[in-house]
Symmetry: C2
Subunit: 193 residues, 2 copies
């Protein structure tokens, strides 16, 4: 990715969405390609990442530019990056409270990771294909867990995400086309502890 | 990867190296690409994978066919797969005892994962490029931890790994060229508990 010595320093940055974090990852390159510590519990918790306790690692492979997935707020936290390609990431706070509806966008390359707290809607669009989108989550998905998801339509006019590729030309799932507009979303209540 | 319905069923298989496991992963495909649960603690421990407790996720990106890395036995367990491309994986038992020197090879595509117990030497060669090799480990790497690695030369004549691309044409690191032959390897002692 970058030549040795030019790489980024590990750093964790806040965003306008409370708890949504952008992580700069060092990615040293050599004659073979590149290497990265995509997630490293000790260094990253010291740098400000929650000790979120992943139990599952998912990979979605997105064949073409314009593949778009979301907007899904799930009942667990996510730590996201890419193993190849690049995506335009978009997040919308769907939690009950003053930040409901706040949106944030950030490109994800192999040198960037994003921590998405539960209740924040997650979406992305492939801008360099193919893109292998890899993420860690701290609870187990199941068909049944989808009943606890909160969804927002990718085309919502209120949050108006500036998709690099217009959604009419994008590749979506049938499910994602059908999600509600922001006015029809029930905000995610605070977690019962 | 495969059309829905044709995919593999999650399964964990033993190999001739004690504790080295091959995992078949379901990889459902659709109009966007494919999706996989690359690691899923609950389902996989139920299927026979150790509850190994990862604390770090590494990704190596291997630009060309013939990139070859190894043979490294590290002081932690590894759970390995690919996010794109394919590699020829090779493992050599370097633990003290009757299985010392036993070798095993298996192709890793997105539909296969491998669990490598500590003390087993790990290596791979890219056979479909680029290949993004992703793995979880249950202890933190550091420059200093390399003093506890056990290394074997990729070209060792005794184990004679049948590399698809001859090593003379392969892309190696300077470090990996210098590792000892099997006769000069100190077997990894049983772990102090
Ligand atoms: C999330 C998930 C999905 N699946 C299966 C179900 C489908 O066969 C396939 C794809 O699932 P979708 O519900 O279509 O998910 P997708 O639209 O790809 O959304 C995913 O990527 C974007 C992310 O926002 C979100 O976490 C995740 O649901 O994978 C699993 O087997 N396990 C999972 O954990
Ligand atoms: C393993 C590791 C490496 N690094 C850095 C050091 C180098 O700048 C770069 C590549 O490291 P190498 O020692 O050259 O490792 P490599 O030859 O790529 O071997 C790796 O892939 C094959 C695997 O067998 C092995 O786990 C791992 O060491 O990444 C890290 O920052 N963290 C790590 O965990």
């Amino acid at each position: 990715m970058t030549a040795a010595g030019q790489q980024r320093t590990l750093a964790v940055h806040e965003t306008p969405i409370p708890g949504l974090l952008v992580i700069d990852l060092p990615v040293p390159g050599d004659n073979r390609g590149w290497f990265k510590e995509n997630w490293q519990r000790a260094k990253m918790t010291a740098a400000g990442l929650p000790d979120f306790g992943p139990v599952q690692n998912n990979i979605s492979f997105n064949q073409a530019e314009g593949v778009t997935r979301g907007i899904h707020a799930e009942p667990w936290d996510k730590y996201i990056s890419v193993a190849t390609g690049a995506v335009f990431g978009a997040w919308v706070d769907l939690r009950e409270g003053p930040s409901f509806g706040t949106a944030y966008c950030h490109e994800i390359t192999p040198e960037t990771a994003i921590f998405v707290p539960r209740g924040v809607g997650n979406a992305f669009q492939t801008i360099s294909a193919p893109a292998a989108y890899t993420y860690l989550v701290n609870d187990h998905w199941s068909e049944g867990a989808q009943a606890q998801y909160t969804f927002l339509n990718l085309a919502d006019e209120t949050v108006a995400i500036p998709w690099p590729i217009p959604l009419e030309q994008a590749e979506l799932s049938a499910k994602d086309v059908a999600h509600p507009r922001l006015a029809d979303v029930t905000p995610v209540p605070p977690r019962r502890t």
